[in-house]
Symmetry: C2
Subunit: 355 residues, 2 copies
């Protein structure tokens, strides 16, 4: 069977072997203050930098989940004002977390499935919060759009949620300040780890908040995460096995090459969008081609949704349900490195054959 749910999703095929080796080598009971752990931390973070083309002035830290990073971004980088581009359930939740932390966030909101037109950022915005890939609707922000904020907002930090898109997107990291993701989607790993990448401007901002008497949290405050990361350590006992496995899968990805992964992702996405566009009953949910996610493809199946699910499952392919209210009319297909070309060719053929 193939699992196309957008996360937790299909495991990358090398993971079971890496787990076996981890247990053989005693990784699960390794002290997080040992030299071996420091070597694992360094291997994993350097591998990520290589894979994604993250500049050397960025640093990388680990959290329990990407959901945690939403909270830590607001807590460490915002005294009062973050501005959020909201176009679905997950970008909305990022906004709501700022409210729950007693900040005064603002937002530019468009209907689910639509593009952002000209976005006006309020004066005094400390963080511009962008969700690269809205997992709920399959809308993706084009990279040039993400890169466009820097010039007109030199005093804002630009933070990108890339949870369900990395390692696919080729961000210009000089045009943003922080990008984060989790491992159970595009990296094909068991859930339980968030990865937060950022430049020194973020660290400086957290320092300013702290100096002005604002709490920036405790064990996962940016200064503490940073001072530990300098030693290739973490403030708390982390998910050591998760960090180890991520390093191994990132190495597998690096062997394959980021370019090959991107090209394969585009090929697989094109197959499915074509099958949906040519279909008499089904269609892509996102109308505007430039907004269509390459990594989470949403199909509108209307009142045939349950039939399509049954039909695919009978053929061993398990699609993700539509999100929230769209559960009965849409299906979602994750297109991650764990999903092979053959599996996508099979999926496209099956979609074409659905009547």
């Amino acid at each position: 069977m193939v699992n196309f749910t957008p996360g937790p999703s299909q495991l990358y095929f090398t993971v079971p072997d890496h787990v076996k080796k981890a247990f053989r080598d005693g990784i699960p009971s390794l002290s997080h203050r040992s030299k071996q752990f420091e070597a694992i931390f360094e291997y994993t973070t350097q591998g990520i930098k290589t894979l994604l083309g993250v500049p050397d002035d960025y640093f990388i830290v680990f959290t329990g989940s990407a959901t945690e990073i939403w909270e830590r971004v607001i807590q460490n980088l915002v005294a009062e004002r973050s501005h959020h581009l909201v176009n679905g359930a997950f970008s909305k939740r990022f906004f709501e977390i700022a409210e729950q932390l007693n900040k005064k966030p603002s937002k530019t909101q468009v209907a689910v499935g639509n593009s952002f037109e000209a976005v006006s950022i309020p004066t005094g915005t400390e963080v511009i919060a962008l969700t690269h890939n809205e997992t709920s609707s399959g809308v993706s922000l084009p990279i040039p759009f993400i890169s466009s904020f820097r010039e007109s907002n030199p005093d804002s930090l630009i933070v990108v949620d890339a949870v369900s898109s990395l390692p696919y997107p080729d961000f210009d990291y000089s045009k943003v300040d922080s990008v984060f993701f989790s491992v159970q989607k595009g990296f094909g790993l068991p859930a339980g780890l968030g990865i937060w990448m950022m430049n020194k401007s973020c660290l400086a901002k957290a320092g300013q908040l702290l100096s002005s008497g604002i709490s920036i949290g405790s064990y996962h405050s940016l200064p503490l995460l940073y001072s530990n990361a300098l030693k290739n350590q973490t403030p708390e006992t982390p998910n050591v096995l998760g960090i180890y496995l991520l390093g191994k899968v990132v190495n597998d990805f690096n062997q394959k090459g980021a370019l090959a992964i991107r090209q394969e992702t585009q090929y697989k996405a094109a197959l499915i969008y074509k099958a949906l566009e040519e279909h008499s009953i089904l269609k892509p949910f996102v109308k505007n081609k430039i907004d269509r996610s390459k990594t989470v493809i949403v199909a509108d199946a209307g009142n045939r949704t349950a039939d399509l699910t049954t039909y695919l499952q009978e053929n061993g392919l398990f699609p993700g349900d539509g999100y929230g209210d769209s559960k009965k009319t849409q299906l979602r297909f994750a297109n991650f490195p764990a999903h092979s070309k053959e599996q996508f060719e099979n999926l496209a053929d099956l979609i074409a054959g659905f009547k």
Copy 2:
């Protein structure tokens, strides 16, 4: 080799088989919104309640680490005043976290290795923070001492850090309001999961803080953790594999029985304390017998510490270093269910033979 470091420590012997089965059954890519996940959540939490004798009016939620729970306790249960019993590095860190969250904590502090005498709790204390087992020094608070706070402090919530002692201690849960631990110590599992148990008084307190406009965090606020736990779910994508493995190991412990685990722990601890007391060079660091931890045994080896470490390692036994400044003069031995009677008998014999 046997790993006696107090955490991450030796894996429980059943873990590798549970991991194999988890991968065979697709647990690592299971959706956290699926019925199967809800069944795992319920199996694990019910198993913990059975094992530890936790009353039905308690509920159990999961976090990324026990370090996170320190923060969530303060955030959700304290408007201003927590009072901390500090006798080592970890109880001190709990206190400092309250400071970092801009609360006004107070403390009763004694020298590392010493007992608390009569403790006076300041008027208006919202949370009394107790560290059952000070992992840094091997001092444990006697259970009657923990239970003694309720009567004279009916308006305070009593919160117990039991990170490096559970499943050993048999707490009277009616005399406290919350107990928490992590999995990489007494439960013999890979790190990356905190377990937070509490009664409804904690939930009510978090609700009061929220009503009065205090931020209690976002995705891991108590009301949200609770409403999700009622459905056997979590607010975020959790460490699904970790929750599954914990359920399996707890079931193994239940098969053996809590009483048998406690008796075995006492037997193993008695062996080592006796060997240390009778030794001409070594001695137990904690002088007062009633304060001696059964689960983290600290040996004073003075300037022979490095020799003792080498000697034990040559025999396949890996002790934990002393904590912080005591690294060069002490060794720590974790005594968890993962450590067998035979391993402890061997350790005691080796200690007796050290010259």
